[in-house]
Structures are given as structure tokens and as C-alpha cells.
Amino acid sequence: MCLRLWILSASCAALALGETLPVPLGLDAYVPAPSSNPITREKVELGRALFLFKGLSRDGSLSCGGCHLPERAFSDGKPGAVGVRGQVSARRTPPLINRAWGRSFFWDGRAATLEDQVLQPILNPKEMDLTLPEIRERVRGEESLRRRMVEVFGREAENEDIARALATYVRTILSGGSPYDRFVAGDREALTPLQQQGLKLFRGKANCVACHVGPQFTDERFHNTGTGWREGAFVDAGRAAVTSDPADRGAFKTPGLREVARAAPYMHDGSLKTLEEVVDFYNDGGRENPERDVEMRELKLTAEEKRALVAFLESLSGKVSDGWPAAR
């Protein structure tokens, strides 16, 4: 399985103290997790097994890992997520990079925690299409999973524990050690001159930091850039579907940018195929609509500046890891 082939970061600037999760350069040693669901090696391994378990889809054709592919920043490269029976969603599969630091989940933020989030695609009829009782029984019916659930949680598989294990695994999918991280850590040669120009634009003229801010390059908030607006109407309510606030129409959560060069296509609907198209979209001020974010405006970037921005975005690709390297 591709996950097994994704050889990860035993050599990255990992900091492992006892059972503390190793993290690559650029990330905090403290990886947030609820006190009710601490990260343990055994739970991560169980979560990984569940992540790859195709029995969690109606027809046994699809696991979580079937759409969240490591080589694509745990996304799938498709403009719309493809579920069982070939059903295609209106939104793309989001990358799962460094979500331990996330404050809400899904493009519209309808889940507050990873524990709330992880079962929803399994329950979604357009994705994996199971019911809650079926999830529990499918796991109990797979002997190795059943046994490991008992070992980790001290009882037969319950959906609550399945969610905990999956959330714990997702929490350990990390990316760091990128050229950008090395540059910020003091290696002034880690970014090319063009990438350094892009970084300056990113923080300045291009105004990317209006939303893509912090270690994960996201403010974890919701913004309307115009991607949900087509031919005079909102084709996706976005955040408004959660809040019922008209001002949130067409607003989607700012995605983090780590590994962004591997995570095409872009935007919530995968409507932009390349980073060049994304930069052009923002250079034009996004798409005008009644709720467009006040930060969106024409940027007037030159062709060279656009190239610099793309070069900088490419510098955000580093080493992706999941869990403890020694475990594999």
C-alpha cells in the first residue's frame, strides 16, 4: 500500500522525547490533542489500520486512504471527491496536512474537532455510505481490528473509540522540514532568490497573509474569494450552510499551504488546476460577488512576481510523516 511506501522522516529534524510524537523542523513539539484522547503509539497504529480499512465503505471498495493519498498531500488530485458507486461530490477531497492544529474541519467548518469529523465521510451516502451500527459491526467483524480495539481501548469496538483512533492517526500526519522552514530557521541559502522574492510578495504586495498566516499558513477562518459564485449566483452556500448567516455565503475555510504544490487541483471545488491559475485568480481580485471578502482586490502583479509567488509556494513542500517512523 502506498502509505507503506511513503518513507518518512526518520532523518527529519525530529524531536522525540520518550513517547512524544516526533515532529519535523518548523512544527511545534507540542502537537495539540484533547485530554480525552491523548496521542499514543498504539492508537496511531490502530488509527492507520482503520484509515486503510476498505470495510468502512458500503461496497468494500474504498478506505479513507483511497482518497487521502500521501503522495498528494493526503488529497486525491481530483476536482471532486469520488465516493462509492462512482459518485462525485461538488467539493474536492481536502489535504490532511498538519490538521492537529486545525480549529474546524471540512471546507465549511461544520466539525469542531477531528473526533467529530472523521466518521462523517464514512456516513455520507455520496462517500462511503455506512450507518453508525454498520461502522461498529464492520470493525468488530475484522478480527485483527477487533483485537486491537480491545487492546487500545479495553472494550469491544465502539464508534466513539473508532473516531478517537482515526482522529489520532490524522493528527499525526505532519509536514515540515521544507526549504521555507530551513530558511526561517536561519539557513539563508534554503530559498532561491526567486523564492525569497516570492516570500516578500507573500507577506507584502500580494497580501496572501491576509488569510494564509501562521505556521500552517491558514487563519482557520472562512473567506469568500468568489469561487462559490457562478453566473450571478452562489452555487455552494459554503460556511452559510453551517451558520445560516447570509454574510457567510460562498465563504470557505482557508486551507493551509504546506505541501500545496502536491495538492492540485485547488480551491474548494478543484476548479483551478495549477498554482499559476491560483495566482492569476487572486491577482484579478478573485470573483466579484455580493459577499466577497474585503481583503480581495486586484494585486497588479507582474509576470515575474507571479513566477516568484509560485516558486515560493513550491518551497512549502517538505517531508510528510505519519506517526512514529520506527513503527514501520
Partner: protein, 527 residues
Amino acid sequence: MLRCLLILSATLALGAEPATRVVWDAPGANVLGAPTPDGRFVSCVDPASGDLALLDTSSGKVRRLTHKGSAASKEFAYFSAPSRDGSRVAVAWFNDAGYYDLRVVSAQGGEARVLFRNEESGFVQPTAWTPDNRQILTLFFRKDNISQIALVHADTGAVKVLRSLNWVYPKRMEISPDGRWIAYDSFGGDRAGPRDIYVLAVDGSSEAKVVDAPGEDLFPSWSPDGKEILFASDRSGTMGAWAVRVENGRAVGEARLIRGGMQQFLPMGVTARGDLYYGLRIGSNEIALMPDGGKPAVLPTRTPGRNSAPAWSQDGKRLAYLSRRGAENFGVQSVVIVIRDLESGVERDLPQRLATVAAVRWSPDDEWLLASGADGKGRSGLFRVRVRDGAVRTDTVVEGAGHGGIPGDWQPEGEVVTGEDVHALAVSPDGKATARAFLNKVIAGGREWAVDGVTWLAWKGDSLLASRGGVALSLSDEGVRRLAWANYDGGPFSVHPRTGAVAFGVGGTRSQVWVMEHVFAPLDSQR
């Protein structure tokens, strides 16, 4: 000349509260350091030279540890922390390249060794050493406005980042005596608000909020036995010293009051025998209005004592000014913009949406304020703040501009003139001339004045008023003239568009270092 003080016998024993006494009350006294564990010294900045120094808490004498040499050098020491064995001092040093690096100096003085120097993390603040004296707990503040709690190896300079926060950096953080925990204050999220106390595991395995109460809770310090965290809190209505018991990184029971009525109080550290050294800020800042040709009168405000940088509206009916909020008065993030209706005297605060604000100017239509400062997303420069509701629009972002933003002013038609490369800027009321202050001159409308260090400009008729080194100047065809603005604070000021009256800040504050003795009573006596 430095006038170091002898210990004053102003000991105040109020009931069962611990006694306090002042240990440093001299011009330039500062609260940028911490006590040595034996309480004999407090690290500080030598007011005369800007060097790192140690204050002898018995004699009140200050002994320099560094000698930066040339008087023309712009380098200086800033925050510092002595090691647990008292042999070394870690210091943030403003270097020759114009940012802060982390250095270590012997407590006997001598050459400072650079441990960490990285322009991307251009502000560093050492706060404590691990019990084995091998690592220094340090706050990094990066160019992208991320603050980080990190451990820096005291020999190799190797860095381990434990926790990233946004622009809301901790006011204070400290390692527990057993080296397992870090206590720090923060207000979570990226908008200002009351702070709480958190405890983070040094190995990164956990974090918990140990103090979560209405009001400000900040400046945590560990008790010598590691069983309590002392902190400053205004939960009782005034700032006081409180403590909460902590076990295994989590709070146990309710916080207890150690001493109340502490005013503007900044804990600096606890010694091995449980004496708390702390700073007090004394003095006040007010707004004064001075009619043209008249005498200044202090404006009675809703929150006296902490106001500055006034700006008249274009119609002259309102005054905007900056006011510090929160019970403590150290640091830059607690500033809000106040709008005062001059006829009714009614004041209201605009919602605090910017990280820092240095000055404001009204738009020609009085609907917006142009604010120089920084927001919570790492952007520094100029922002438009809507007077009606405090909504913020980014105007000009300049990488590396710093918390104070950049100079800027409005053109009569509503466009903004920015001054990325100047120290001050002001557009004349008719928009025909823009005055700019460079390093050693001011230029406006074909005229030039040889005056250096100007930090603020405003037009008054055909002439200019300027701020330079805490003094107000008039720049006119007659040359440069010093103005006698009584008690002027040296900050931004404003000229009334019709009457020529001037609004400016008056007063000032200074710091003292105090000690509160034997702060921690035995826990089993606390009932």
C-alpha cells in the same frame, strides 16, 4: 548620572500580607531582567550605557557586565535572565544589524557569546533557565508575527520550538523547578482579550489552562517548591498577586490572593527562598488641550492615567486618542482607540481589531481613521479603521515595518500618502504640500529645515509643528523654534483644523523594582 538607591525602609506590612520594599528607584530603573536565585542581584539594563548589568539588591549599585564600546554604538541590552546557578546571564541584544539576538554573558562580566542570531526571528526574549542550566527558555517573535516558546541550548544554540502562538506573545513564562513544565500567559485566538495562565509540558506532550477566570491573569512565576504558580490578576477589581496550586501540570483548587492593590504590577521572578521581585510603573499619561496662545488643560477622560496620541476630527467636534486597557500597563497590545464627542464628553472605545496602534489621523470626511500599526496577521503599515464600527481595512503593508507601522496622512480627496522611507509625514490641509522628516532634515513645499530625529509632524497654518526627542518644535520661515509645551510626552499630537488649538499627550511613567518577601506560606497553613 545614574543614581542608584539604597534600600528604602518603606516596608509595608499590611495584616498577614507579605512585606514589600523598594530596591531600585532611580532614573532609568527598568524591569527588563530577573533576580538571581539567591536574590543578591537583579539583571537589568544599565541606564547610562545600555549595557547588560546586575543590580546589587543590597547596595543598590549597578555593575555592568558588557561594555559595548563606542558611545555612538546603537547596540544595547534588553530583556535578560540569570542562570539558576547565578554564573551566567542570558540577554536579548539589539545588534549592529538592527534586530535582537540571544547572547550569554558571565555574571562576572566579559565577552558576550552569541547563541542565536536569525533575522527571521528578529526579537528574542530570554525568560528563564532550565534547572540544569543547559537550556534557556526563550520567546521568539518572528517577522511573520508568530511568537514562539522555545528552548535554546546554552552551549550549542540549538533550538527546540515548543509552541507557536500568534502576535499575542506571552507577557512572561517560566520553567518549573523540576524542569518539566512551562507556565505562560496568553489569550488564545488572534484577537486581544483577557489573558489566562497555561502550563505546557517541556516535552511537548500536553498543555492545560490552569487559571481561567474573568479578567486578566498574567505574569506567572513558579514557587520554589514547584507546587504553586504565582500570577498577577485583576479579578478582585484591582491588580493583585495571586497563587494557584498545581499538580502534574494541572490546577488543584481555587486561586488564593497573596496581596491586593498592586496597581501596575509586573512580576519579575521568585528567588529560592520565595521572595518575589517585581516592577511597578508609576506616573500617568493624559491628554492636554491647549488653545492657540493659551495654556494647556488636561482633558478629563473616562480612563484617566493612560492616554496618548490625540487627533482632532476634521470638523473639530471629536477627538480620537489611544488609551491603554487592562489592569496592567506594560506592553503594547492593550491599546484601544477612543472616540470622544467634545461637546457631550461622551466617549466610546472602538473594537480592538489591530494588534498595535501608534497613531491615528482622521479622513477628510471623518468616517475613517488612518492608523499606523500592525494587525494580528503579521502585517505592519497603515490601516483604515471605520469610526462608525471599528471595521479595519488594510491600506498599506510594508514588510518589516514593525509594530509602529509607517507614517501616513490623508490627501483632501481621501487618498493616502504613505511614508515608507521617512520618519514622519504630514499633508498640508489644502493638500498642496507634504512635509517629510528624514534622518537629519525636514522638507516641505520647497523649504528645508536642518533638524534631526523628528518623529511626528503636523501643519499649523503655513508652518509645521514637530516632535523631536520629547520636545515640540515650530518649523517656519523664521527657522526652528522650541515650544514650551508643559509636560509634553513627546508623542503624536494634533492641531485643531479651525481654531489652531493643539492636543497633545502630557506626563510620563517610570519604573521601580520592588521585592515582596516570603511570598509563599506553607501550603498546609492555607485554609
